[in-house]
């Protein structure tokens, strides 16, 4: 269960604004996080608190394949991302590193910047505590849930190799 303040962005949030290429040679997730979103929201890094929730429109995470994008968002303190839709490489990367994302166009419409939001990643239930409205995210296919349950693709593969799943 995640709960925090919503940071709301529009459609086509690209990986170049999530983490600009000029910082891609940063040596750690913490370093990357210092520059997360700075080209579209210079206040983000100052304002974000651990557990906060990022909300985006259509095609969130489009552009580059850089896994640095979900890594930077997670290291900034964001607990999960809700979007109307995700660009496919970002979608894969988030699942592969075990970072929770939820697809829910209705929630994106029903949440404003600064709203207090609660997310149950297991059931896909999203609650806007500020307005009292609830939304239901599109569930992941069972196969993807198995990867998420293991904490990401590599832990999943290791568990599979050991015959644990």
């Amino acid at each position: 269960m995640y709960q925090g303040t919503a940071f709301w962005y529009g459609d086509n949030v690209d990986t170049d604004v999530i983490i600009p290429a000029r910082y891609l040679n940063a040596p750690s997730a913490t370093e990357l996080a210092k520059h997360c979103m700075e080209d579209i929201d210079p206040n983000f890094v100052r304002e974000v608190k651990t557990g906060d929730i990022m909300v985006g429109g259509e095609n969130f995470g489009c552009g580059s394949s850089r896994e640095h994008a979900p890594i930077a968002i997670r290291a900034s303190g964001i607990s999960c991302v809700i979007a109307a839709s995700f660009a496919r490489i970002f979608y894969r990367n988030a699942i592969n590193i075990g970072f929770p994302i939820l697809e829910c166009p209705e929630a994106v419409k029903g949440i404003k910047k600064g709203d207090e939001v609660q997310v149950d990643a297991d059931t896909g239930l999203i609650t806007n505590l500020t307005t009292g409205k609830t939304f239901r995210a599109t569930p992941f296919p069972a196969f993807i849930n198995r990867i998420i349950e293991q904490g990401g693709l590599l832990p999943y593969l290791v568990a599979k190799e050991k015959g644990e799943i």
Partner: protein, 421 residues
């Protein structure tokens, strides 16, 4: 119901007779690719998971192309991590400074990828190899690590959009104009999660360089992959390069497509994409005269020999306008050498261009041509997002090599047709 070309390649690599859109499959990989930005993250993930060997040292390609020759110490550290990994596992297709080219020009040129292959690369423009009739898609570093360890990965079988190409391109109109036009038509998420399958009699008249530029930017429409049928030109290109057996897949006659888009190549004009989305397209005539500070001719989209020839044809005997910096970056060492042998490099230097060794460099605002606030570039690259080529207040206009060269001469966005006397 039949399968698309993409679905046939996926089915064959998953050991299945048929697949359909939406199926989740595990498929065997022919090549796993990474670069100097994405490989170090993959190495970290690979080591943390405790893997001690790669599935096949001949099926992994590591190409140090983004920030090389290293622009600073941090980049040098990243390259060292990738280089050590390549050494540790004796990776066959490892390319470093002096042999390196931009990965998506290099892999086809070296015959590392070919028709019918199943390829993942930790770089979004990995979709380029669809030009050769391969299934090829960009992934992240964890996927690269998984691919290197197991030789397999999971995929959701994509639905497809059929793009029917008719007719033949006019002079000064290229593959870049075709793909910019298409992205303008369907939008940056117009093909989200889907394949773009290019078909029709217009394909035959497109050069391999044109096809590479088109497939390269499939990702800019959100596509999982872009793919061309294998024809005589493809076979002529891979002959002598690609050593593994060629596997030709064709879409079934009754394959299901979600949508059809028809493009009449005869009617296409030189096209540009204004800031800050590749879908923000105009014909060059609609925006000519916009002043510019920089021109970049290169990248995995347009750094091939055909692109350099198109640019040189316009720059020959002309000068880059005062106040404009024109940077030309041949995509591989072989293209660089060819450009020298054909006299193109001389044309560029005499015109007042800076010619660089192969690198992704300015395309992603890495090095070799970052811009200051308020500056504007015409570039043959693939993305014009906010801050892509430098300062957050700089602007990139995407264009073909011919338009970029004409703009360099004019000092403003210009049409190659206006260069004729």
């Amino acid at each position: 119901m039949g399968m698309t070309m993409t679905q046939k390649i996926l089915a064959a690599h998953a050991g299945l007779d048929t697949v359909k859109a939406g199926d989740l499959i595990e498929a065997k990989l022919d090549i796993v690719l990474g670069n100097d930005v994405t490989t170090p993250v993959a190495v970290d993930v690979f080591d943390k998971a405790g893997f001690t060997r790669v599935f096949d040292k001949d099926k992994i390609a590591i190409v140090l192309d983004h920030y090389t020759p290293c622009k600073d110490i941090k980049s040098a550290e990243l390259c060292a991590t990738a280089r050590n990994f390549a050494k540790r596992f004796d990776i066959t297709h490892f390319y470093d400074v002096g042999a390196v080219g931009i990965e998506h020009a290099l892999l086809p040129e070296k015959g590392i990828v070919g028709p019918g292959d199943m390829i993942i690369g930790a770089d979004s423009h990995t979709c380029t190899y669809g030009a050769l009739g391969a299934f090829s898609t960009g992934v992240g570093s964890t996927d690269m690590a998984a691919g290197m360890a197991t030789g397999e990965n999971w995929f959701k079988v994509p639905a497809a959009i059929k793009v029917i190409l008719k007719g033949k391109l006019q002079p000064y109109v290229s593959g870049k104009d075709v793909i910019l036009h298409l992205i303008g038509l369907i939008g940056v998420d117009g093909a989200l999660y889907k394949s773009l399958e290019f078909v029709g009699e217009g394909v035959a008249a497109l050069t391999m360089d044109d096809r590479c530029a088109i497939a390269n930017m499939a990702i800019e429409a959100g596509a999982k992959n872009g793919i061309f049928p294998v024809d005589e030109q493809t076979m002529a290109y891979v002959a002598g390069r690609f050593k593994r057996p060629v596997r030709v897949f064709e879409a079934d006659a009754d394959a299901l497509y979600e949508r059809e888009v028809v493009i009449d190549l005869n009617t296409l004009a030189p096209t540009v994409a204004l800031p800050h989305l590749p879908s923000n397209t105009r014909t060059v005539d609609e925006v000519k005269g916009l002043p510019i500070d920089q021109v970049v001719i290169g990248s995995c989209t347009n750094g091939r020999i055909g692109d350099l020839r198109a640019a040189a044809a316009i720059l020959k005997g002309r000068k880059v306008a005062k106040g404009v910096r024109c940077i030309v970056i041949p995509a591989t060492e072989e293209i660089y050498l060819q450009s020298i042998r054909e006299g193109l490099t001389e044309i560029f230097i005499e015109a007042g261009c800076a010619v660089s060794t192969p690198t992704c460099g300015p395309c992603l605002g890495g090095h070799m041509g970052c811009m200051a606030a308020g500056e504007r570039a015409v570039a043959t690259t693939n993305r014009n997002f906010v801050g892509r080529m430098g300062h957050v207040k700089s602007e990139v206009i995407l264009a073909s090599p011919a338009v970029a060269a004409a703009s360099a001469v004019a000092g403003a966005v210009a049409s190659p047709y206006d260069m004729e006397v």
